[in-house]
């Protein structure tokens, strides 16, 4: 496995690149799309030798444990659901943010850093057949809460 620092540096540079080229103030859709394609492809490799998933909850649990472990080297600290398609994943030491600040400083730059991961989760779930919208919120750096809203027909 490669050193995690490579991902951190590359990710920081991608964020900087997108920030310099965005025309509107809050246009982070290209970051989200990069995350989406990455997630879509990585899940194909990750689930190669995995037994079939029984239901949606098991897929989300897989994201919280093995997927997060493979990408960030740790598991999700807290998972909550309302059993109606809304899942909240809490990561208390989000790797992309823990070098920026601790506490309530620099909260306005946080969206730049969690958008890629939102896309990553959305892409992975899309490839597994779960169509959803992923958002995130940060109240205290570096703890991030990812909200997954599944489109139930």
């Amino acid at each position: 496995m490669a050193d995690p620092v490579f991902f951190e540096l590359l990710h920081a540079q991608i964020v900087k690149y997108v920030e310099e080229r965005q025309t509107k103030d809050t246009d982070l859709s290209s970051l989200d799309t990069i995350g989406f394609t990455c997630g879509y492809k990585i899940i194909e490799r990750l689930t190669r030798d995995w037994p079939k998933f029984k239901d949606e909850l098991e897929i989300v649990k897989f994201i919280c444990t093995d997927f997060w472990m493979a990408v960030y080297g740790k598991q999700i600290d807290n998972l909550r659901t309302n059993n109606q398609g809304l899942y909240v994943l809490q990561d208390n030491m989000f790797r992309c943010l823990n070098k920026i600040a601790i506490g309530k400083e620099h909260l306005q730059v946080a969206p730049l850093y969690y958008t890629f991961t939102c896309g990553l989760v959305r892409g992975s779930l899309a490839n597994l057949g779960v169509h959803c919208v992923v958002n995130a919120e940060v109240q205290n750096m570096p703890s991030v809460k990812f909200h997954i809203q599944v489109n139930r027909l």
Binding site: I43, E44, T47, K52, F53
Partner: protein, 139 residues
């Protein structure tokens, strides 16, 4: 050893079909399409069937006079179908499993290609070559 290998996407559209004998290609398209029904049945019946709920390998789907059809589903709902000749009785279950594992491995490589668009058919040379080798019976 296989006579035809097919990869079918999530929406049941064919992503890749390759046959040893180009004259029989249409015939194999039909056979694979029919086999898809059996795949769907196995996937949905898993709630009631005992055991093997977690298996990706579906085993022998269909058997005609001259051909046997095997299936495999990935977690991302991609289906692999391999057609072999019934006369070839030396093909063991384990060998077919190995073929599917290799197929899955090369497929994962194709998907990870940054220039690959998930909605288009597979046109990778490496994938083609692995499939040709598999049909010829080499490792």
């Amino acid at each position: 050893m296989a006579v035809c290998v097919a990869v079918i996407g999530k929406d049941n559209a064919p992503k890749y079909v390759s046959c040893l004998n180009p004259n029989m290609e249409l015939d194999f398209h039909y056979k694979v399409h029919n086999a898809l029904d059996v795949v769907e049945e196995k996937m949905s019946a898993n709630g009631k069937a005992s055991g093997d709920i977690r298996e990706l390998y579906l085993g022998l789907l269909n058997s005609t006079d001259d051909h046997k059809i095997f299936g495999y589903v990935t977690n991302t709902k991609i289906k692999f179908v391999i057609v072999t000749e019934s006369a070839n009785t030396s093909l063991r279950d384990n060998e077919v499993r190995m073929m599917f594992r290799r197929l899955h491995s090369v497929y994962a490589d194709v998907v990870c290609n940054p220039f690959y668009n998930p909605s288009e058919p597979i046109s990778s040379k490496a994938f083609n070559e692995t499939v040709r080798n598999m049909m010829a019976g080499n490792l």
